[in-house]
Amino acid sequence: MMAPLWSDYMIWLLVVALWGWGLILRRSPQVREQWIQIFQSRIAMVSAIILLAYASVALLDSVRFDTAQKGQITLLDMAFESIATQSERTYSAPFADREYNQSLVTRDNGDVEQQYLPLKWVQAEVSIGWATLQVLLSAALLTALLVGLHLAWRARVHKLGLAEYGRNVWRDQTRLPWRTAYVTVLLMLFVWGWLGYLSQFYHVLGTDKVGQDVLYTAIKSIRTGVLIGVLTTLVMLPLALFLGISAGLFKGWVDDAIQYLYTTLNSIPGVLLIAAAVLVMQTILNNNPQWFGSTEERADLRLLFLVFILGMTSWTGLCRLLRAETLKLSQVDFVTSARAFGVSRLTIIVRHIMPNVMHIVLIAVVLDFSGLVLAEAVLSYVGVGVDPTTHSWGNMINQARLEMAREPMVWWSLFSAFVFMFLLVLAANLFSDRVQKVLDPRTQTR
């Protein structure tokens, strides 16, 4: 039975909204041209595919079922069922078949000795090299199938023969860098397949203090990171758009009031404002236990509150940009003549202002995303981030701090959080660079 949490509804709502927005944008040839220009860069293409992979994991993790035996599980839990359920006793290194630390064992004859206990769920007889080869072959087969389908589709669009179009792709003579895209897809399928397949027999990234598989924690953290990066935008955008455009268009006391509001909010140090708001939120949650049934719902509610707080504190920058741009636009001929013709304010905003500030909005949204993912880690460290029971990279790093002080060092939690986070943020940064380069009129003259 489906049992979505509030954040699941929000994330799917956002998908629907994005879909709708995309459909509207498709109609404008100018916008289509811009997007093609964005994807003409190889780096942008690779980053977009990586981002898409992260997003799909987050979406898989947002389809939630209620089961009798295992409680609430998501589609992602089903895909990684083996490591979701198979916990060890304590720390074990990546690909190890024994625990990381010795334990005291009492022999049959009463002797006590130190021993590295074997792990419960590891099947060490499975050869890693052979498994890798198998995965590589299946990934290549799957990619070939996908590439074939895609080639057939593109060839039809271009009204070319399949062989001819394929040759163009091979020589990298297509308008969009499809060859790069295919290679990236192959790599992604291979990496995910490798992780998924080997995780049935090994703990690929080791286990943590309570024996939970680290790979599983890192993958589950994807949803938290993506959610914070994306949903915050949903909270921030309406505020920034409404206030920014009103300030720029209506001027006078409206402008003064809105400027006062964002200067005041801006002058409070960001982390402190967030910390203060989160402290208050915790008090509210503690005083209202009737709002949530389970600990999962509580953690989810806390995540949503955090997203809300981040949104409320991060709209000021975009609002200021939008105000300045609207001020400029309100003096442009097509707006002044529209007003002279008696076109209503609302129509002017929807028809003339909004389409002309969309590039600013888009740039701000993609730029903010990576910052928000990084902020989650810092906030969790400060103790005002997500709930300690929520899987998140911030919580992983927080725990890793103590693990690095152990002797011998437990490095794999930190390493996994680092790799997963770095890839997402790097892809987001590279993609936003490209978006900015194409959409920002100021960078085009260079």
Partner: protein, 326 residues
């Protein structure tokens, strides 16, 4: 000039009142004095008399915004909001939950914060600008592209990783510097060198990119072309003309930070055990000491506004076109 400064200072007052209103709303309306009393008394059963006594001893027994029992101006002034705000404006932050005076703590902890924030800021500034100029000199080359990719990579790593990795590498494995701690006097450099180095390195990516874009915006302007046409060497062009003219946009971003250096860095200080304002704030957040958090919010806002005013003044000082006496 003086008149302008006074006007700017007067403008700052409503913003500070606004900051107060926000913090007050956050801390007092949601977490009412009754809640605070119950949390602080730690008794199993709190009687209304006990709560009343606690509120009286902490000065929280007045109504929030409007006092209906008083008359005239007192209806507004004899309220919790005005009393609390006035105390903050006098920089009297009251007592922390452990009974210490917050103002004294702040004065004491300001200096360690500054000892770590100021070198990080200065060294970072010089390194960023020097590197950016170097890259602008080689603009469009492989070096330029490579540095930009490295810069994005540096930006994409959470600051927490730099700190943890730095501590493990330089303190735990190489034993070059102590892992954390603080000492006053000259011996403190041993404790400061690692956090400062990490701070500078972590800021390198974003910094170099930002200064590079500033310089690139300048380099296409006419005066540069003229200077080059007259035969000025590229090096003299960069350090003479470009740096001087790029200074103005740099000032906007930099001067506003300087006063807030007093606040210290939250994560850096708590990781390296430096008894500054950053770790003070983190401890307060973890202990849910609302008094300290409130004081730090006010202080941060105050320093930021001072920074904004300083930015305007520095403009008047460095840019002959800006005049404030109209």
């Amino acid at each position: 000039m003086l008149a302008y400064m006074v006007r700017r200072l007067i403008y700052a007052v409503p913003i500070l009142i606004g900051v107060n209103l926000i913090t007050f709303a956050l801390f007092f309306m949601v977490n009412t004095p009754d809640d605070m009393a119950r949390a602080q008394l730690e008794a199993k059963q709190t009687t209304p008399e006990m709560i009343q006594a606690w509120k009286q001893s902490h000065g929280y027994d007045k109504p929030l915004f409007v006092n209906n029992e008083s008359s005239g101006l007192d209806t507004v002034t004899e309220t919790l909001f005005v009393q609390e705000s006035l105390k903050l404006f006098m920089l009297d932050f009251g007592q922390a939950d452990n009974g210490r005076q917050i103002s004294e703590d702040i004065q004491e902890r300001m200096w360690p914060s500054l000892a770590i924030a100021l070198p990080t800021f200065l060294i970072g500034l010089v390194t960023n600008i020097a590197l950016a100029l170097l890259i602008v000199l080689f603009r469009g080359s492989v070096l330029d592209t490579a540095t930009m990719i490295v810069a994005v990579a540096i930006m994409s790593i959470s600051g927490l990783f730099y700190i943890i990795a730095g501590q493990v590498l330089f303190s735990k494995m190489l034993h070059w510097v102590p892992i954390s701690g603080y000492e006053s006097g000259w011996e403190m450099w041993r404790f400061l060198i690692l956090p400062v180095a990490i701070g500078v390195f972590a800021g390198l990516g974003a910094g170099v990119r930002w200064y590079r874009s500033i310089f690139l915006e300048e380099i296409n302007k006419d005066y540069i072309r003229t200077a080059r046409a007259k035969g000025l060497s590229e090096i003299r062009l960069l350090f003479g003309h470009l740096l001087q003219n790029g200074l103005l946009p740099i000032l906007t971003g930099v001067v506003v930070i300087i006063p807030t250096l007093f606040m210290g860095s939250l994560i850096m200080e708590s990781f390296f055990g430096i008894p500054g304002l950053g770790s003070y704030t983190i401890d307060a957040i973890n202990a849910q000491d609302f008094g300290i958090v409130k004081a730090m919010v006010f202080l941060g806002a105050l320093l930021y506004i001072i920074g904004l005013i300083l930015t305007d003044l520095s403009y008047a000082f460095f840019d002959p076109r800006v005049r404030f006496d109209q």
